[in-house]
């Protein structure tokens, strides 16, 4: 297992249904828990992943997410069981939509 921590600047997220949980820690899948954070202009992420050595990939995928979405003011905790970058991107968008009170 590898533990990774990231912090990205991001526009503030909208009104929140705190906390929001999305996904399952199954093979090739991950779960994402979004809670309110301290800094409205930043997204703080911590990841526990079963796949070692993919720090650069995580940084790229999560950086794209923070740039593309208004995810500021959130703390994101991720438990990962080898999800691909595409699945991570999809789940992040899904989790943020739920956090903002969006569709199921």
């Amino acid at each position: 297992m590898e533990t990774l921590e990231f912090r990205f600047a991001s526009h503030p997220a909208g009104p929140a249904a705190d906390p929001a949980l999305c996904g399952v820690v199954g093979s090739g899948n991950l779960e994402i828990l979004i809670r309110a954070g301290d800094d409205p202009a930043a997204c703080q992420l911590s990841i526990k992943t079963s796949a070692r050595g993919f720090g650069d990939t995580w940084r790229a995928v999560l950086g794209d997410f923070a740039a593309a979405h208004a995810a500021g003011g959130t703390t994101v905790a991720i438990n990962d069981m080898g999800a691909t970058p595409a699945v991570v991107t999809l789940r992040l968008a899904q989790a943020l939509a739920e956090y903002q009170g969006g569709a199921q």
């Binding site: 297992m1 906390p19 949980l21 399952v24 820690v25 199954g26 093979s27 899948n29 779960e31 828990l33 809670r35 526990k48 992943t49 079963s50 905790a77 438990n79 990962d80 069981m81 199921q104």
Partner: protein, 300 residues
């Protein structure tokens, strides 16, 4: 009660949380010990494995057709729905709370291979505590209904727990047994049981076989709505009878009779023929309504 396939929402494919969403009255679920308030398994962390916030089980309360109920839902996708220390403690805590608060029922959505081997003794103890807690809830007059239709079925210790419940609602996709197929093959050899023969596995452990044998109260379609109406149907008119020696003796006798009648058979097909099914080969192709009708017509 067969909904068209396009309108079904598969129980087998749904996550634990999605199953709860489809099972209870809309918007009625309130989770005990939410993921943000819980902690992942310390044992898995010691083994350098990622845990899940809810440790693979969702517990809470809600309503089923307006009846107040408690619900326990195992997540089969997380390490096979296996029972670890925190996972087990959440289940036991919910059952003990049911003894105090007396909901109309506890719905137990089982999807598990049994003990989480990573947690060894903690998992074994958790299973034994769950068994006791199920019996305590029933002794307090609270029915515990097992719903089995997930990809992991109900095996190992959770197979025993399922049989300790008031009744079992199962789908064709559901499986129920003690030792899993791979375990039997590993211990006894492939000549004894070929775990790769999926059709054989289902003919011996699957929902249709369990229903024909009288191990399960209801057989339903692989559909969230079907499990919902099945659970409600089971609870209608059900009252927990207190523990009785006579009832235990009679079920022991039934098990001995069953062993004497079927112990030498190798396949569900042989058992169904002995039960009086005219065309055993047709059983795997029947839909649930037809199978229920077939069982009604069998000699008792």
């Amino acid at each position: 009660m067969n909904a068209p396939l396009a309108n079904r929402k598969s129980w087998f494919e749904a996550t634990a949380r999605a199953r709860i969403g489809g099972l209870l009255d809309a918007g009625s679920f309130v989770e005990f010990l939410q993921p943000a308030a819980s902690q992942p398994s310390p044992h898995l962390a010691q083994l350098d494995l990622p845990g899940a916030f809810d440790d693979g089980v969702v517990v809470g309360c809600g309503r089923l057709e307006k009846m107040p109920i408690f619900v326990i839902a195992q997540e089969g996708q997380f390490i096979g729905g296996s029972v670890g220390e925190i996972h087990g403690a959440k289940i036991v805590g919910t059952l003990r709370r049911a003894v105090e608060e007396k909901p109309a029922a506890v719905l137990f959505l089982i999807d598990s291979g049994g003990v989480r081997l990573h947690e060894a003794n903690a998992g074994l103890i958790a299973i034994s505590e769950i068994m006791r807690a199920v019996l305590d809830a029933r002794a307090a007059g609270v029915p515990v209904v097992a719903l089995v239709g997930g990809s992991c079925g109900a095996f190992g210790g959770m197979g025993i727990v399922a049989k300790l419940c008031s009744g079992i609602v199962i789908s064709e996709e559901g499986r129920l047994a003690l030792s899993g197929p791979e375990v039997i093959e590993t211990v006894m050899g492939v000549e004894e049981f070929d775990a790769k023969d999926r059709a054989l596995v289902w003919r011996v452990t699957g929902g249709k076989h369990r229903y024909l044998m009288g191990d399960c109260a209801l057989l339903v379609d692989d559909d969230l709505a079907a499990f919902r109406s099945g659970a409600a149907e089971f609870l209608t008119g059900w009252r927990e009878a207190g523990p009785s020696l006579a009832a235990l003796r009679s079920s022991q006798q039934a098990l001995e009779n069953r062993l004497a009648a079927y112990a030498t058979y190798r396949d569900g097909l042989d058992v169904w023929a002995a039960l009086g099914v005219a065309q055993p080969d047709s059983v795997p192709l029947l839909d649930s309504d037809r199978l229920v009708a077939l069982k009604k017509g069998l000699p008792t």
